[in-house]
């Protein structure tokens, strides 16, 4: 394969990636062969900048993350999702990439990243990262070449036009900051196309070299052993006159090409799409169901998250039940990714409710558009720091269909700092201990990239890993136990979802049934969630399970067998149950799990 990425052409003074990798230990993927791992994995989103600082410069780095892998393995995390760590002017949180083959210097080097992959794999943890294919930073070498040398090798790498009248049907996404999708470049004296910020020109995928270059970037990181990519902003790769420039057939064709490279050359690695759209549209990004899916392995289920919050706020299961009922089946090699919180905002205006029609309109648009109108809070403050609510939400995250993705710090109930600008309020240093800088860094506190949380409720003196490690009743230990239970029962990850409904509209109940496979045993779990603050009864129609004994999963207590009548359960406020439904009632005899009947 010809390297058209400019390894040789690129000025060596730019400190490009290849020079870093020259001595790097290039690894093959060392994880065991397990093609369906992502369907069962618990993901954990970690920001390199925010997790641990190894060199005392006040900013987290890759070496710091390596130091904390033992903690993540202890927690039960299967895969880290690391947002962009590439070289970048950081005008869009690293999503504005200046060099795809270079690590942001304050985070470390490509060699550090290779070390991270090796260390993670040694602990059974996989790693995926963001790949931004739609656009680059305007400081990228390609754009600088393209604007200054229209007839050169990079002349067609971007979408140029003599006027700004093209593609009028493609809406402007960042309406707050961008008046148009076209911006005039004074160097080339032409307009360039950009769906996001004007400092992020869109790559021109109609130029064959661009697609080849992007696939070579993928190969570069896959060769280092990375386990997959979260593909950022995938609906926008191509643009066509007379369309809105989203979800075009050409875009899907390119994703199929990416998938084929992965399948043929790097089996076991995955592609995860960020397509913040209605589920019925998102499923297209899994590709052809007839062949089990031939585009992305995973897609985030965006509408589910705000509806979990809405359901609890309204004490009604319908927001969740509705969206899951509208979620179509997905191809056999596919899995949803679900989350409660991530580094972006929770678009909570949907919870204030005019109604679901309003929600529909909200989600029909692109959510990045809404980035500026969301609520920048972490899970714990969103739930008024109520322990029961946090447990209920996490229990739903770990049991609803899809692979769960935790956000760093939510496992200890970290707070946020709403006085920090943009989305930084939820990107403060991880709170490891009550020591200086929350144990995150040895630097002068004034030098930290963001101040650690210090308020009396969520501050690191109160909320930190060390303290919670030493208290088995802590949220951290609870989260770890729940992850462990989830892993013991493959039905949570692989089971078919069936919404039970039930007599009480504030209780969300569902069964996950997994018929078993070569590698995972069959099983059925029943999950019952009380979305109300108040204790609730619910009668469940469990006719399909008559004669079985529900065994509560956190304590192993057998509940009364399921009989002819609706199954009655009572739950405390914001309570939940997980039951295993695989144990059959022994001939209907009472006390089957107790002592022998000495009177018999």
């Amino acid at each position: 394969m010809t390297d058209i990425l400019g390894r040789t052409e690129q000025p060596s003074s730019s400190g490009s990636g290849p020079s870093q990798t020259k001595g790097a230990h290039v690894l093959l993927n060392t994880m065991p062969d397990d093609p369906g791992w992502y369907k069962r994995a618990v993901f954990y989103e970690v920001l390199v900048r925010a997790f641990a600082d190894s060199n005392g410069d006040g900013t987290g780095d890759i070496a710091g993350l390596i130091d904390k892998l033992d903690y993540l393995a202890w927690l039960g995390v299967d895969c880290l999702w690391i947002p962009p760590f590439y070289d970048s002017p950081l005008r869009d949180g690293g999503y504005d990439i200046r060099d795809y083959r270079k690590v942001l210097p304050e985070f470390g080097t490509v060699q550090d990243f290779a070390n991270l992959i090796q260390a993670a794999h040694e602990r059974g943890i996989r790693i995926i990262t963001d790949l931004v294919m739609n656009h680059t930073s305007d400081s990228h070498f390609w754009f600088q070449e393209s604007r200054s040398n229209p007839d050169g090798p990079y002349g067609d790498y971007y979408v140029w036009a003599d006027d700004d009248s093209g593609y009028p049907d493609a809406r402007v996404i960042f309406v707050d900051t961008e008046p148009s999708n076209w911006t005039f470049d004074p160097v080339r004296k032409q307009y360039f196309w950009h769906r996001f910020f004007s400092h992020q020109p869109d790559l021109n995928f109609d130029c064959p070299a661009v697609g080849d270059a992007m696939i070579d970037v993928m190969r570069f990181w896959l060769d280092l052993g990375i386990d997959g990519f979260r593909l950022d902003a995938v609906p926008y790769l191509y643009v066509r006159e007379g369309t809105n420039g989203e979800n075009l057939p050409e875009t899907h064709a390119f994703l199929k090409r990416c998938r084929k490279v992965v399948e043929d050359e790097y089996p076991g690695r995955i592609l995860l799409a960020e397509a913040n759209q209605w589920p019925a549209d998102v499923v297209d990004y899994y590709g052809d169901p007839a062949v089990g899916g031939d585009e992305c392995h995973m897609c985030f289920h965006f509408p589910l998250m705000p509806r979990i919050f809405m359901a609890a706020r309204r004490e009604s299961r319908f927001p969740i039940s509705e969206i899951l009922a509208q979620t179509p089946p997905i191809p056999s090699t596919s899995q949803w990714g679900i989350f409660l919180r991530n580094h972006d905002e929770l678009t909570l205006e949907m919870v204030s409710d005019e109604d679901r029609d309003y929600m529909w309109n909200e989600y029909a648009g692109d959510p990045r558009m809404k980035a500026n109108i969301g609520i920048r809070r972490r899970l714990a403050p969103l739930l008024d720091n109520d322990r029961n609510s946090q447990e209920l939400f996490t229990a739903m995250l770990l049991s609803l269909p899809g692979s769960p993705c935790l956000y760093y710090g939510d496992e200890i109930g970290m707070g946020d700092n709403i006085w920090l600008g943009d989305r930084d309020g939820v990107r403060t240093p991880m709170q490891w201990s009550p020591d200086r800088n929350a144990g995150f860094s040895r630097s002068d506190p004034a030098r930290l990239y963001l101040p650690a949380i210090m308020d009396p409720v969520y501050g690191f003196q109160t909320v930190n890993v060390e303290a919670q490690m030493n208290t088995t009743a802590s949220l951290l230990h609870w989260t770890r136990r729940m992850i462990e239970i989830r892993k013991r029962h493959p039905a949570f990850a692989l089971g078919e979802f069936f919404d039970l409904g039930g007599s009480n509209p504030t209780v969300l109940s569902y069964v996950r049934t997994f018929p078993g496979s070569e590698s995972s045993p069959a099983g059925t779990v029943l999950c019952v969630n009380n979305l109300s603050r108040f204790p609730q009864p619910v009668e469940l129609d469990l006719r399909g399970h008559t004669g079985q004994v529900p065994v509560e999963l956190t304590g192993g207590t057998p509940f009364p067998p399921i009989g002819e009548l609706p199954y009655l359960l009572t739950l405390p406020g914001h309570g939940f149950y997980w039951f295993d439904l695989t144990m059959a009632d022994q001939n209907g005899e009472p006390g089957y799990s107790g002592e022998p009947d000495y009177n018999g």
Partner: protein, 478 residues
């Protein structure tokens, strides 16, 4: 077992093969029912130790695995005339432990139980409807062109006053009418008509069981589609009130559990159903003296209640005056449109499904005659029923009976009543509040009836409708 009491009347009318029948003669069955009925919540004639049961007909439906199943029609006298009932009885030669909760009794070593709770029996009933068979005088009839999943297992989900409901899998629900009135039940008729009109707010009709009662062909059971994963409007609304009351001092539009957007959609759904009913069964207008008779009926209804409910007696002159606000000189509308309506509309007759609101139970008011239930009425009667239902939901939770609680409950009710009317008006093209005095009269009529009901059944709830009566007297519903 024998008839030791004069209350037990025996009859073997229409009774066949008496000697062959499990459970022996009609006298034995009548005696069992006589002892069992007074303990049943749905049994209308309260306060008797033994019911005066007359067996009218017995139809052997099946022999299943040592069990014998029969459908039984019987009558019981009551102050308001003879009441007719249907029950399905299973007989076994051993104590049926699984059905201990629905055991009727034992006679001569034979145990009788309510057979509809037996999954074997409910499965057979469904198969019979799907196959369209006739057993004795019972006709099991599938709706033309419907597909019935006859393998679905049945589960009794409710045993209400007037029927027993069996849910089949997640696809169908069979309502077996317990109290019968000779004639075809409007529920089946209305479901068919609305289905033909393509209504999105009803369950599809799938089949019926019909047979003769007192010489008339009568609907004995109705099978419709089932809204899996739905919840009753009443449960949804009371959850919203609970959320409001837990908040201390927030207003109804500020709490997370605000119900107004649901009420609005419910109003739209009811307007849709009314439009479909009008299209299917036609419309008429009430003019002049018809309208006067309508108000007179309300007045005499209130007078009847006043005769035995002191709280209404004290308010009677004001109540009558309030009714006449609707038909006084210069106030009566020139004409009122009438059509087939639901007849007993309340939150408990609505279901929130995953795709919107559905309306169920088109039987009409069970206490009224079949002719009345099938007649045309003003749609305002249904709307008044919903207005009253919102009021009940707002006040049901009890809690502190201070004025702040009452004020906030009233605020919730007003917000949701307004949202319902907004939704209704948006679809119907006219706002029910435009006929405010007539709507208030229908509401008052309903509230007076509710006071009588609570007075007799749940005296501690009497203040809920009574407060509404006072409000309607004072403000005319404004």
């Amino acid at each position: 077992m024998n008839d030791q009491s004069g209350n037990v009347q025996l009859s073997t009318t229409d009774y066949q093969d008496a000697d062959d029948q499990r459970g022996g003669a009609g006298s034995a069955l009548a005696a069992l029912l006589a002892r069992w009925l007074p303990g049943q919540r749905w049994f209308a004639t309260k306060g008797e130790q033994l019911a005066a049961v007359t067996i009218e007909a017995r139809t052997r439906v099946a022999e299943l695995d040592g069990k014998s199943v029969e459908q039984v029609l019987f009558t019981v006298p009551s102050p308001s005339g003879t009441q007719r009932y249907q029950i399905w009885v299973g007989w076994t030669g051993y104590y049926p432990e699984r059905f201990a909760h629905v055991l009727i009794g034992e006679t001569d070593g034979q145990f009788a139980y309510d057979a509809l709770h037996d999954a074997d029996v409910s499965a057979l009933v469904l198969k019979n409807i799907a196959a369209g068979v006739s057993i004795g005088s019972l006709d099991f009839l599938p709706e033309p062109g419907t597909v019935i999943d006859s393998a679905a297992a049945g589960l009794v989900i409710s045993a209400e006053q007037s029927n027993t409901s069996i849910v089949y899998g997640h696809s169908g629900i069979l309502k077996v009418f317990r109290r019968l009135e000779p004639g075809l039940n409007p529920d089946a008729e209305v479901h068919r008509a609305l289905q033909a009109a393509g209504s999105a707010h009803i369950a599809p009709a799938l089949g019926v069981i019909e047979g003769p009662v007192a010489g008339e062909r009568t609907t004995l059971a109705l099978l419709t589609g089932f809204f899996a994963n739905s919840a009753e409007g009443w449960a949804m609304a009371t959850a919203s009130v609970r959320d409001l009351m837990a908040e201390g001092d927030l207003r109804a539009d500020e709490v997370g559990g605000d119900f107004a957007s649901e009420s609005l959609r419910l109003g739209r759904a009811v307007a849709d159903v009314h439009a479909d009913l009008a299209a299917a069964f036609g419309t008429a207008v009430l003019v002049g003296e018809d309208f006067g008779r309508l108000i007179s009926a309300m007045v005499s209804g209130a007078e009847a209640v006043a005769a035995h409910v002191p709280s209404i007696e004290a308010l009677l002159p004001d109540i009558v005056a309030a009714f006449h606000r609707a038909d006084g000189p210069g106030r009566a509308p020139a004409s009122i449109a009438v059509q087939r309506i639901h007849g007993d509309l309340q939150l408990g007759q609505t279901l929130r499904t995953l795709t919107g609101w559905a309306i169920i139970d088109f039987e009409g008011e069970p206490s009224k005659s079949l002719a009345y239930r099938r007649a045309m009425h003003s749609p305002l009667r249904d709307i008044a029923g919903m207005m009253r239902s919102f009021d009940y939901a707002a006040h049901h939770s009890g809690g502190p009976s201070d004025s702040q609680h009452a004020y906030r409950a009233q605020e919730w009710a007003a917000r949701n009543r307004a949202a319902f009317c907004d939704g209704y008006a948006a679809v119907a093209g006219h706002d029910p509040r435009d006929l405010g005095s007539l709507l208030a009269a229908f509401e008052l009529d309903k509230a007076v009836y509710e006071v009588a009901y609570e007075h007799g059944h749940r005296p501690s709830w009497e203040p809920i409708p009574l407060q509404a009566v006072v409000r309607l007297i004072n403000t005319g519903g404004k």
